[in-house]
């Protein structure tokens, strides 16, 4: 880890090297001329390379070493070099600090550089909040467009249309004169079979239209805008590059099509895509600041903060957002990012609050307002809900991954538009008859979380009121009326339908999130259980388990609480979130009363789900796509050594290396064109195989092309040297090409006897792409991140060929 210390090690005097060689008994030829010059002369060189040396002013660098555009950037679908990026940032910071002593302008530059991070967070929060407001208001409106239109102004949805109406009755709060359903508009009738069929038909038609628009826009303009986005963002934050994934067009299309997808009645949510939208905002705003535009590692810090802002506006939970970013999405999360993420999340939540999409200063549609206490014995049904959540989560992940694999490998994947339309049609046709699937999922959750009081007149709150036993404002447990029983079986049907249809919906080629459907499944299950327990307590209040605390006339069971706990359990079972889930739920309820039930359910569901399958949905999708994501949470416990994993193996050709000063331009170009490795080690000579450094393929290609065009005299027979001084050339030889500035002089090495546990740990902690393996000081092989991932997969008996990228 300590770069300077390691580099100094390579400058040991030849006597100690030879001592070691004598002891081990190997016969190696150590000629003095091969050694690099001694330490003091090289201190200048020592400091001039720090990952490309692009930004370091060093008077000893000659004019040929000015930065070439393109060197130090990465190709698409490659991993960044974290160490290089971080040291580049440190150099930049050092330079600015040193220069700031020179003039006032430089001092101002330094202050503004330090301040730029906060300004960027502020802008990200504002933009993410505004976009979330746009999405919320538009989705709310378009969902109701399937059912009817407001005559007062077409931009009002159902609730806002009847907002000021005088004719609203207690029983039918939804009906008002200004809101016309489609049958009312087209045939001026609102009751009757024909009106019903017409409404049905218009509902499915609008749903199909929205879905068609969504998938066409995604296909034509931004194919990266489909799906949830969280698996890919996790991979990007761990160092992978997917160009265009967080670009302008992806942002625009994702925002627009998210509204369309949610409004089409499909069983998906908008929380996951909101994280993608917020990260796109973060990435786009990074381009305004040089500090973040040029450095991939710093940019990923900003993206972590942007992800926190995304979750914050999705749930109205800033703290939950930061914890979600920390737990689920980010890979390296320095403490400095914690504070900035919180700031971005707060600004985003505040912006959304001032836009006020839901009309009463709430950020989310399903806000829990009751504070009734719960009893310790209720932990039994809560744990039961946790078990249900875990089971459902594991079942859902298996089903969804199997379906996505089928989509990836078979003919099904060739008809994305048709698939979306068919699923939308099926969802629409099945959803319309049942009132609980016809309404949008957020509204359903909101209704399920609601505690029934005297003021509610919905079907779910149709309890038999006995006014003689009412004492003041506290409502006792009441027997269920007819409406509640109807609601129960309708909800059961809705539960089955949602469980099945979400498996086929998540992962389609439209933006789709997973949080809301899982919460809906859990809320329905919870409410069913809650009403069941409530009625059991009412009719059998003399049983020993109830008699102690739930006497007649007491308000002991709150079905709304069961719904909330069920929602948390199912969400935890699918995503395997722990802390962030509990914090999000407690921020939704606004109080600490329900923390114990929530934690009980979340922990139970995670344990049950982990017992069945190790991975959450996002990790499963990462593995399905073969992204090079090194899981940070799992321990590697096998006893293999580095030499078991390194390449080349026994049957492979020997390692492709470059020598430090004996290869010509033509040799190097042939080597590059014949092999496809992303980097090559540089050794002193082929006989000694002593390591000098590591050079990347992309940098080599760009530098050689640039040299051929711009430098005089570079031809195919010019010698390339990575040393500081040109090797002695015969007369009339073409000038040599110095490529020392693209050489990484401090590649990480391990010996061949290093246990793989340590190697995996090094890769994880430092974010390496490759690591060289030495034996007795000589270069033996190389281990890349892909090799590590394949090895882990092999050890876990999974398919090692599914790792696609490096």
């Amino acid at each position: 880890m300590d770069n300077p210390g390691f580099r100094r090690g390579s400058f040991h005097s030849s006597t100690s090297d030879e001592d070691l060689v004598e002891i081990s008994g190997a016969t190696l030829d150590f000629s003095m001329t091969d050694d690099v010059p001694p330490l003091d002369r090289d201190l200048g060189e020592f400091m001039s390379y720090n990952g490309g040396g692009l930004n370091v002013p060093n008077k000893m660098m000659d004019f040929l070493e000015e930065p070439i555009p393109g060197v130090g950037t990465y190709e698409d679908f490659n991993t960044i070099d974290w160490v290089r990026e971080k040291s580049r940032d440190r150099d930049r910071h050092r330079e600015i600090t040193n220069k700031s002593k020179e003039s006032t302008w430089a001092l101002i530059h330094r202050v503004s550089d330090a301040f730029s991070g906060w300004l960027l967070m502020l802008l990200i929060g504002l933009l993410a909040g505004s976009l979330a407001g746009l999405i919320d208001i538009s989705a709310h409106w378009m969902t109701d467009l399937k059912e009817g239109v407001c005559l007062r102004g077409f931009w009002f949805n159902h609730e806002h249309c009847c907002w000021n109406s005088e004719q609203v009755t207690f029983e039918d709060r939804d009906k008002c004169l200004e809101w016309n359903t489609w049958s009312q508009l087209l045939i001026s009738k609102s009751e009757g079979a024909f009106a019903y069929i017409l409404n049905y038909f218009m509902y499915v038609l609008w749903a199909l239209l929205f879905a068609l628009l969504a998938v066409s826009l995604v296909r034509v303009f931004a194919p990266y805008a489909c799906g949830s986005g969280i698996p890919e963002i996790k991979t990007i934050l761990s160092g992978f590059i997917i160009r265009g994934y967080l670009g302008k067009w992806t942002l625009i299309i994702k925002t627009i099509t998210l509204v369309l997808a949610v409004s089409s009645g499909l069983s998906l949510g908008k929380e996951g895509p909101l994280v993608h939208v917020a990260c796109c905002c973060g990435n786009i705003l990074c381009h305004c600041f040089t500090k973040y535009r040029k450095n991939e590692a710093k940019r990923r810090e900003v993206l972590s903060a942007a992800a926190a802002a995304g979750v914050s506006v999705a749930f109205g939970a800033p703290i939950g957002g930061v914890l979600f970013s920390l737990e689920e999405v980010s890979y390296y999360f320095p403490l400095k990012t914690l504070w900035r993420s919180f700031f971005a999340a707060l600004v985003a939540a505040f912006t959304l609050r001032s836009i006020n999409p839901f009309g009463n200063s709430r950020l989310v549609l399903f806000y829990v307002e009751f504070h009734t206490p719960w009893h310790l014995l209720e932990l039994v049904p809560f744990v039961f809900l946790g078990i249900f959540g875990g089971l459902w989560g594991a079942f859902f992940i298996r089903g969804n991954i199997a379906w996505c694999r089928k989509r990836k490998n078979t003919q099904l994947g060739k008809y994305p538009v048709l698939e979306v339309l068919v699923v939308t049609a099926i969802t629409g046709i099945l959803a319309f008859p049942n009132e609980y699937t016809r309404m949008s999922t957020s509204e359903l959750i909101s209704e399920l979380f609601n505690d029934c009081g005297l003021l509610d007149s919905s079907q779910l709150c149709d309890y038999v009121n006995n006014f003689n036993t009412t004492k003041g404002a506290k409502l006792p447990d009441r027997p269920a009326g007819v409406g509640v029983y109807t609601a129960m079986w309708q909800l059961s049907l809705a539960l089955v339908m949602k469980i099945l249809i979400t498996i086929f919906t998540f992962g389609m080629k439209v933006p789709s999130g997973l949080f809301i459907p899982s919460m809906a499944v859990g809320a329905i299950a919870g409410r069913l259980l809650g009403v069941g327990v409530e009625q059991l307590a009412y009719y059998h209040h003399d049983w020993p388990i109830f008699s102690g605390w739930c006497s007649q006339g007491a308000d002991c069971i709150t079905p709304g609480l069961y719904a909330m706990v069920g929602a948390a359990a199912c969400l935890g079972g699918v995503t395997r979130m722990t802390v962030s889930l509990v914090v999000i739920m407690f921020e939704l309820t606004g109080g600490l009363e329900y923390i114990v039930p929530l934690m009980a359910a979340a922990m139970t569901s995670k344990w049950v789900a982990d017992a069945i399958g190790r991975e959450g949905i996002y990790d499963a999708h990462i593995r399905l796509n073969g992204y090079p994501f090194l899981e940070a949470k799992e321990e590697f416990t096998h006893k293999t050594l580095a030499m078991d994993v390194m390449r080349p193996r026994r049957s492979d050709p020997t390692l492709m290396v470059l020598t430090q000063d004996s290869m010509t331009v033509e040799d190097v170009e042939t080597l590059i064109s014949e092999t496809t490795y992303s980097g090559y080690p540089v050794v002193v000579s082929r006989e000694s195989q002593r390591l000098v450094g590591f050079v990347l393929r992309r940098d080599l290609i760009i530098s050689i092309e640039n040299a051929r065009k711009k430098q005089d005299g570079i031809v195919s027979t010019s010698i390339i040297h990575f040393t500081d001084h040109s090797p002695p050339l015969p007369p009339h030889a073409p000038p040599s090409l110095k490529l020392r500035n693209i050489l990484d002089l401090s590649p990480f090495t391990v010996t061949d006897q290093t246990p793989m546990e340590i190697v995996v740990d090094i890769f994880r902690k430092l974010g390496l792409r490759q690591c060289l393996v030495t034996h007795n000081g000589r270069l033996l092989g190389i281990i890349t991140k892909k090799d590590v991932l394949k090895h882990i997969a092999q050890m876990a008996n999974q398919d090692p060929d599914s790792i696609l990228f490096n």
């Binding site: 407001g133 208001i137 207690f170 029983e171 066409s216 034509v220 194919p223 625009i252 912006t351 989509r407």
Partner: protein, 184 residues
């Protein structure tokens, strides 16, 4: 005509921050439109009288059962018991924000749809007129993240930059839809 698509995307990209700014400005003058505030009083069924919902436009400090309930359906001595069950809430919204947001959304959607129509119908005709043979979509594999529409001034350069963006989308489309490499 080719300038149209440059103009499109330029406007799209430049107008977005302006529109966001507009949105925020609108919030600043939160419309205290008289029809954007209400005092909603819900009174549940009492004895033989059915429940009522009253929506009135009164100020926040006056929003209680006394002022919020318009005509009291119950006789004198029961009024207090009736009022005990009623609940009044003061709510505010901004209809201007809603109107502007929906209009912004629909206009962006409309622009995108027009652009699709342009790409499908108009552009092949133009390509045939201007180039004769289709050799537009040749580009090296440098798929970077810039190449805006904005930098082009002459037709050919515009076409190349446009082709670059289309090529990027084509590359993304191949990765996602054809090879199923990303986002399956």
């Amino acid at each position: 005509m080719l300038g149209l698509e440059v103009y499109f995307t330029e406007t799209l990209l430049r107008v977005r921050p302006v529109l966001t700014g507009l949105l925020l400005v609108q919030l600043a003058n939160t419309a205290k439109n008289f029809e954007d505030v209400r005092c909603k009083c819900i009174c549940p069924p009492y004895k033989e009288h059915s429940g009522y919902i009253y929506n009135k436009n009164i100020t926040q400090k006056d929003c209680n059962c006394l002022h919020g309930v318009e005509h009291i359906p119950v006789p004198g001595p029961d009024v207090e018991a009736y009022f005990l069950r009623c609940e009044c809430k003061y709510e505010e919204r901004s209809s201007v924000t809603i109107k502007i947001t929906i209009i912004i959304y629909l206009s962006i959607l409309g622009l995108l749809l027009l652009y699709i129509v342009y790409l499908i119908f108009v552009e092949p005709i133009l390509k045939r007129h201007l180039f004769g043979h289709s050799q537009l979509l040749q580009s090296d594999d440098d798929v970077g993240d810039h190449q805006p529409f904005a930098n082009a001034h002459d037709v050919q350069a515009r076409c190349h930059s446009h082709a670059n963006v289309l090529n990027k989308v084509e590359y993304q489309r191949k990765s996602v839809f054809d090879r199923h490499v990303v986002l399956s």
